[in-house]
């Protein structure tokens, strides 16, 4: 085994980084990279990915990567969730040993050197998680609004991203064991889940996201840093929840045959494409 067992992901103060957040650390002194998983609407840090936490560590390529499973409250507005995720991402990029790894490792396992940094940061996001991730990346700027240098080490792998919006009734239906919510219940759900408004096609959040990403891609002389906004994208052929279209300069969409909105990010013996897709994005 190349990784630790799953354990609670803690910050330097010993508090959990996020709801149900878990980590699996590579059993090496200086792994070359980290994969951060971020779930979608009403997802869960680990359950969204079902077999990923077990299957990925068995892959040779993943042996040099830490695996972090981040959780957040999907009732909140996407921009608010993005602020928390940005803080986490910054900790991972700038001070991983002190702020994430050593504070989570069991006593007795060799701690990482204080100066340790990841060469590669891969964000694997599902559905609403893609919107949260993209918003967080846009927020990673210094006091002069200049994008941070470490963004050049970031790659985005998006499963069924909701960056073009979702059909409100269908996203609300995900609340109820997959049953369609109906109009009345959909309205109730919208009062509880602020993020449903964000996912309405052409919402202010999504419009600003597209506009700001476009601007970032056009910054002259910042190609390396801007590259993080070009995402690798996979969609299921049976996804009836999100709107599927090409987002700015993202790489060509990968079609996963037979996959639904929920299964597109869950590798199984019969459906290994999600795993293959992520491995291809990992440098």
């Amino acid at each position: 085994m190349n990784h630790t067992l799953p354990m609670v992901m803690r910050n330097a103060a010993g508090q959990p980084w996020s709801a149900e957040g878990r980590s699996r650390f590579a059993l090496t002194e200086a792994p070359k990279g980290v994969v951060i998983f971020i779930h979608g609407f009403r997802g869960n840090a680990l359950d969204t990915w079902i077999d990923f936490p077990q299957r990925l560590p068995r892959e040779q390529k993943a042996s040099g990567y830490d695996l972090l499973f981040y959780g957040y409250d999907t009732r909140e507005a996407a921009t608010i969730s993005a602020v928390a995720f940005r803080n986490f991402l910054t900790a991972v990029a700038e001070k991983p040993a002190a702020q994430v790894v050593n504070s989570s490792l069991p006593k007795g396992l060799t701690p990482r050197a204080t100066k340790f940094k990841y060469q590669h940061i891969v964000i694997a996001a599902h559905s609403l998680g893609a919107v949260v991730s993209r918003l967080a990346l846009l927020q990673c700027v210094n006091t002069k609004r200049v994008p941070l240098e470490w963004l050049s080490r970031v790659r985005l792998a998006l499963f069924a991203p909701a960056h073009s919006g979702a059909l409100a009734a269908n996203i609300a239906s995900l609340l109820l064991f997959g049953l369609p919510a109906g109009k009345v219940l959909g309205a109730v759900a919208s009062r509880i889940y602020r993020s449903i408004y964000d996912l309405t096609p052409a919402s202010l959040t999504l419009t600003s996201l597209e506009r700001d990403t476009q601007k970032r891609l056009e910054v002259p002389g910042a190609a390396a840093v801007s590259r993080c906004h070009r995402a690798w994208v996979a969609h299921g052929s049976k996804d009836w929840v999100v709107i599927i279209n090409q987002f700015l300069e993202d790489y060509q969409i990968r079609r996963m045959s037979g996959a639904t909105h929920l299964t597109v990010c869950k590798p199984t013996d019969e459906h290994l494409e999600p795993l293959q897709f992520l491995l291809e994005v990992m440098p």
Partner: protein, 372 residues
């Protein structure tokens, strides 16, 4: 630190740091077993609830002992699956033996609330050969992750407490099932968070509803894992026993209620307009399949069909031990006869001296004729 120490440290971390219960229980155990500690304190704490009702503070400490036993059980599964070696480090063995051999703790997991995995682990610590059937480390990995919320999630803890017949803040299992019958109530409770309340604790009914949802989603995943162990009967049985107590509760008391709750969720479909039904036919079908899978898994896991191999190992070893002791007492110089579950079947009420003597005199090597 050796690789084995590192692996033990990871399991220990989950039960003693990520969840606090086992650490608290160990502290209570250490205090209670000090030389000057009042006698009978531990036996009273770990009594059967029929002897006298268990109060709230005792419940939490007893939960801690359950976690401590779960820790030893998880280590046993680690050994059976190849994540840990057959022989564990001496420092671990000393601690585990001290706890598991203590008469009051032993009475708790053997007589009051029979749990077979701690008994199986004790056999290992006592030198019984429990070799693994083949290396299945990846299964341990999956099982560990699947089982973690049972220690760390307060929602799961609340639901299991209700499943065990408990009540909290005036709510119990029946209230949980009622809340699942209405889509609005379901939505309210399933989306509640701890931060919503002023004391930072999730409302009890919401916690129980979320625990229920976790449990019914957990069941098919556990069943899949058990099926991956087909051909490894002892490991398969051990994985089941780790959660077997809850499936026992499910099977004997309230299985029908849980099935009703799942059916109630399915009945929401009837409230939809025919247009929505047409648009959503595929998703409705997927939802029905998921619920059927959950019901099947709960029924299968509650049937007890995975329980046999571990129980056999424990009962046979205990009977053999009793025989050896008796042979020594009676100074009978003869090889201890082979014991099988069949041969101790007739001693189910407990090996009486007379019955054991007759067994020594006429050793039974296989199942009895009536069982063949």
């Amino acid at each position: 630190m050796t690789l084995v120490d590192q692996r033990l440290a990871q399991i220990r971390h989950a039960y003693f740091t990520d969840a606090q219960g086992a650490a608290d229980a160990l502290q209570v155990f250490r205090k209670a077993t000090q030389r000057k500690a009042p006698r009978r304190k531990l036996s009273r704490l770990l009594r059967h609830h029929d002897d006298s009702p268990i109060n709230d503070s005792e419940t939490w400490i007893r939960d801690g002992f359950d976690s401590l036993l779960a820790y030893f059980s998880m280590v046993e599964i680690g050994c059976l699956s190849g994540f840990l070696p057959n022989e564990l480090p001496s420092s671990y063995q000393a601690l585990a033996r001290r706890v598991l051999l203590h008469p009051d703790v032993r009475a708790y997991y053997r007589d009051n609330y029979p749990l077979y995995l701690p008994q199986l682990h004790l056999l290992r610590l006592e030198g019984h050969a429990l070799s693994r059937e083949r290396d299945t480390m990846f299964l341990f990995d999956s099982f560990f992750e699947l089982s973690l919320p049972f220690e760390t999630s307060s929602a799961v803890e609340t639901f299991l407490w209700f499943l065990d017949g408990g009540a909290r803040d005036g709510f119990d299992f029946e209230d949980t099932i009622d809340a699942l019958r209405s889509p609005n109530e379901f939505l309210k409770h399933s989306s509640a968070r701890a931060e919503d309340s002023s004391d930072g604790e999730m409302e009890v009914l919401s916690a129980s509803v979320q625990g229920f949802l976790h449990f019914v989603e957990f069941a098919p995943r556990l069943l899949t894992l058990l099926r991956e162990c087909s051909g490894l009967p002892l490991l398969q049985s051990a994985l089941w026993h780790f959660h077997g107590y809850w499936f026992g509760q499910m099977g004997t008391r309230i299985g029908a209620d849980v099935r009703n709750a799942l059916e109630a969720i399915g009945s929401w479909e009837s409230t939809l307009s025919s247009a929505v039904k047409r648009e959503s036919a595929e998703r409705l079908h997927a939802g029905r399949l998921a619920r059927r899978e959950q019901e099947t898994a709960l029924e299968y896991l509650s049937s007890g069909r995975f329980s046999y191999p571990v129980i056999e190992k424990v009962l046979v070893a205990n009977a053999a031990l009793s025989l050896r002791i008796l042979q020594e007492e009676l100074a009978i110089e003869q090889d201890t006869p082979s014991i099988t579950l069949g041969s101790i079947h007739e001693l189910a009420v407990g090996p009486t001296k007379g019955a054991l003597i007759s067994l020594i005199k006429a050793p039974v090597k296989g199942r009895s004729e009536s069982e063949k």
